[in-house]
Each structure stands twice: as C-alpha cells, then as structure tokens.
C-alpha cells in the first residue's frame, strides 16, 4: 500500500536525531488526542539562532514518527525564522504519499510541536 513506502518505513524504524538533547535551548511537546500520539522536540541554537542540534522522542504511528524524523533533517542548519516558515505542504512533500484526513493529523504533529516550541517571545529574544 502507498502509505508505507520504503522511505517512510526507514524513517520510522531508524529515526534520525532520535533522543533528548542535554543542551537544548528550546523544548516542546504536543500530542494528538485522537490517537494519543506524542512528540517531544528539543532544539539547540547558537548565538545567531541557528539550529545546531535537534532531537525528538515520541510515541505513535509510522506517519507521525517518520514525519518527525524527516522534519529534524530539515531543521538542522536553519535559523528559527526559517524553521517556523516550514509549512504543512512542505511536510506533505517530504512524505510524498497521499494522506487521508485522519492521517493528516498524524503527519502534522511534529510540525505543530515545532511551532509551539518556537514561540514569538523566543524569536524576540534573538
């Protein structure tokens, strides 16, 4: 079935940047009440607000965890302003598979967590 392509399964079974960061400068957590999926996201930024390290942990389906793994690849090297501009469409493009409305929520959980993590006050500090 289309939903479970090789790339998604590989990210699910061998997630990138998996784990908590000891030197996190920003952390956030969110969950999906529908299925209980959870994402914990840690970001480490330098003086200029560039993301120099990222880590995530979580529980959930292949779609939510694989999209989180893919998102962490995208985040490295971006500054926080660039990071919050990542859009839903960017996530769909990374996943590259058709999603039903129920699974869209899974796909976007990590992005929603990211946007909760990088709050306006965090941007103003920079």
């Amino acid at each position: 079935m289309d939903l479970y392509g090789e790339i998604i399964l590989d990210h699910y079974q061998n997630p990138h940047h998996h784990g908590r960061l000891e030197r996190a400068t920003l952390s956030g957590r969110d969950s999906n009440p529908l299925c209980g999926d959870q994402i914990q996201l840690d970001l480490q930024t330098d003086q200029e607000g560039i993301i120099i390290d990222v880590g995530f942990t979580g529980q959930g389906c292949a779609i939510s965890q694989a999209s989180a793994s893919m998102l962490t690849d995208e985040l490295l090297g971006k500054n926080l302003f660039e990071a919050i501009q990542i859009s839903n469409e960017d996530i769909y493009r990374m996943l590259g598979v058709p999603l039903t409305s129920a699974r869209v929520k899974c796909a976007l959980l990590s992005l929603i967590t990211l946007k909760k993590t990088i709050t306006i006050d965090k941007l103003q500090i920079l």
């Binding site: 079935m1 079974q13 299925c35 999926d37 529980q59 959930g60 292949a62």
Partner: protein, 410 residues
C-alpha cells in the same frame, strides 16, 4: 441459533464496499450499524407525523407524542424499570452521567466525601466525576485491577472493595463492561458493598447493555446510563434510568420549555417526572427510531448473543495468537471485544492497513487513557463484534493482518 448472515441482510450498509472490498465492520464498540427498520422509522416519522410533542392538540402532535412516549415505555420494559417515568432521554450516555453529576451530586456530595470509580472506566464515566470532586473538594478513589501478571484480563480486585468503598463513600460509578478489554464487571459484588456503606450506585451501561442486557430492579442500581447508537439505534439518544425516589428529589439539569409546569414572569415550577429532565424539544425522530432498535434487540436473545460473541472472541484470539509476538489483551471470556498489538507497529498503522482490505477496526486509546497507562501501552487495535459478524469477518481481518507483517517486514 443466531444466524449472522441472515441478520446482516437487515443492514443496508453491508451493501457498500470500502476500498473496493466488501465492508467488514469490526468497530461495534464504537457504534453499531443500523437495521433497515430503524432507518425506515426515521423517514416515516418525518414524512407522516412530524410535529412537536407534548403541546399540540392536532393529530400529528398526538401521534408523535404517543410514538415518543411509547418508546419510553419500551425502554423501561427492556431494562426492567418499574415505570416509564424512570426513563429520561438525553443526547447520549455522557450527558446522562453529567446529569447525575450536576443534579443529584450537586445536592448530596460535600467536601471530604468519596466517589469511587474503577480503573476500567471510559472517559465519559471518569471525567464528570473528576470535575465533580474538584468542584466539591471530594475525593476520587479508583478501584484497582487485580494482580500484575493478569492485569490484561482487566478484572477489578473484588478482594479490596471494602478498602476502597468506605463509610465516606457517597457514590460508586462503574462500567458494566470494559470497552477496551471486554471484561464483565462483577456489579453484584460492588453494589452489595456500596449498599453496606449507603452509597448511591451509577452503572455505565453504554457497552454492557447491548451485549449483556440488564435488569435494573434485580441488580438494584440507582442510576444507569446507556446509549441508543451502540445498540442499533440512531446517534443523539442517550438514556438515563433513575429510581423514582431519587429523581423526584433531584433539581432539574437544564431549564426551559417542556420541563416546567407553571411559569410567571419571575419564577417557575417543575414538570412531573420524567419531563422535568427533558428541557426543550427533544430528539423526537431518533427516539422513535430507537424504538425499532429495541424491537430488533427483542427479536434476539441475550443468551444467544453472548454465546455467539464468545465463539467469535475464541476464534479471533486463536487466529491472532498464531502471529509471532502478537499481544492480546482482555480475558478469554470477553464479551465481544479483542484488543491486540502487533509488536513494533502502532495500532494506527495496523488499522490503516486493515482499512485497505475493507476492514474497520478501532485503533487508539479507546477513550480510556488511564487504563492504557495501567496496561503500559500507548494504544491498542480493537476488534469488537456484533450479531452480524461471523468467522468470515475474522478471517478477512486476519488475512489483512498478514499484510501488516509483510509491509513492516516482521
């Protein structure tokens, strides 16, 4: 003997396909499908007798009132209530439970009192009591499950009833049947203990009533909440049963039309039971159609339903246990529910892959997050059976499960 294939013919939805495959519906604990008679009753009501009830002298209103009140009498007989006045229609079982929390409890629960629920509860029979205890500074106590090794069976530890249901306990609210595990709760023992300490007993029958039936007088519970849509009726109809002596003393829940007797510019007094609790125009059409669902249930019998579901549970558990590493939750005696987990695969993914084969199962926490925490799993996949399911449905689901193993290379 119950004939699932014959019964299935009464349900128009089984004519449709999902993803090009015949629908296999194994999500009955969420909601059941509806027989043609229920659907026809909705159309018939709107096309032949649509009118507001309890207020018209015209023919349509009289007919609609008679049909609506006729269902109340049917429900009363179905659960063994003393009289129709002990049956209140609500939006759903959740609203029925909230009604108790905001009326009886508002007048009878005080600071330091204890309210007891079990670890099996659906959020609908937990969160209203959490909020009640917060409002009243009362203490919420949770009856634990029995033993760590057999925790997955979901049996309430009846040896510890005396410890949890004490003299301070004013209300015990428990489910009749776990919606996650299918465990049947020993209500008689719990009610016996509640009686010893003078606590009022609320039964959440949303899962239990459709599978086990209930006799509220024999059981001697004070309140019972259940819902139409889990027993072949429409959504939007919940049922609250309460003993007359309790309902009489309770204040109304919602205020407005139909629940009043006399109104002046500055005050009002309340209508008789049960209308005191039914403010505003009720869900007339769906209640009337629910009457047809009860007639459908009366055409079956609970012994046959129970033995049919036992056989299906046995068959499903056996088939599931043939998969390597498969985790199965719930007792072998489960009433129509089998929860399971494929190791390393999230239930959401299992359900997605089953859906490709036209198989509808539920994946998630089943609105019972505290129980999930107890079982130490984030979620499960759940098959839940009804009278139209047969072994062929289990076979289709099991075939689709092989795809899960294939896709995830297990």
């Amino acid at each position: 003997m119950l004939n699932p294939l014959h019964i299935k013919k009464d349900f128009p939805i089984f004519e449709r396909q999902v993803n090009g495959k015949p629908l296999v519906y194994l999500d009955n604990a969420s909601t059941t499908q509806k027989p043609g008679a229920v659907l026809d009753a909705l159309t018939e009501y709107y096309s032949t007798m649509n009118a507001n009830i309890h207020r018209g002298v015209h023919t349509l209103s009289e007919e609609a009132t008679a049909a609506y009140e006729g269902v109340r009498a049917k429900v009363a007989a179905f659960i063994g209530a003393r009289e129709p006045a002990e049956i209140v229609f609500t939006r759903n079982a959740t609203e029925a439970l909230n009604l108790i929390a905001y009326t009886w409890c508002e007048q009878n629960i005080y600071s330091g009192d204890e309210v007891v629920v079990s670890e099996l509860e659906h959020h609908s029979n937990l969160v209203p009591w959490q909020e009640l205890c917060r409002r009243k500074k009362a203490v919420l106590k949770i009856l634990p499950l029995d033993g760590d090794a057999k925790i997955c069976d979901g049996n309430i530890d009846v040896q510890r009833l005396d410890e949890f249901i004490t003299e301070k306990c004013k209300l015990v609210a428990v489910t009749q049947l776990s919606n996650v595990l299918g465990t049947i709760v020993p209500l008689e023992k719990i009610i016996k203990r509640a009686r010893e300490v003078g606590a009022v007993v609320v039964i959440d029958g949303a899962q239990g009533v459709p599978h086990l039936g209930i006799d509220v007088q024999k059981l001697d519970c004070d309140f019972l909440a259940f819902s139409s849509h889990k027993m072949f009726g429409p959504t939007g109809v919940g049922i609250l049963y309460g003993k007359r002596e309790l309902l009489e003393k309770m204040p109304p829940f919602l205020f407005g039309g139909d629940m009043v007797k006399e109104v002046t510019a500055h005050e009002a007094n309340w209508n008789e039971l049960p209308w005191k609790f039914e403010a505003g125009t009720p869900n007339i059409a769906d209640v009337i159609a629910f009457g047809k669902a009860i007639e459908f249930m009366e055409s079956l019998n609970f012994e046959e339903i129970r033995s049919h579901e036992k056989e299906l549970v046995k068959y499903a558990r056996q088939k599931l246990s043939e998969f390597p590493g498969m985790q199965i939750y719930g007792p072998a005696s489960s009433a129509g529910i089998v929860s399971f987990n494929v190791p390393g695969v999230h239930p959401h993914d299992v359900a997605s892959i089953l859906n490709e084969a036209g198989v509808a199962v539920r994946a998630g926490h089943h609105c019972a997050q505290p129980l999930m925490q107890k079982l130490q799993v984030p979620a499960t996949t759940r098959m839940s059976f009804s009278v139209y399911n047969d072994e062929g449905d289990v076979d289709t689901a099991v075939e689709a499960l092989k795809n899960v193993y294939k896709i995830f290379k297990l």
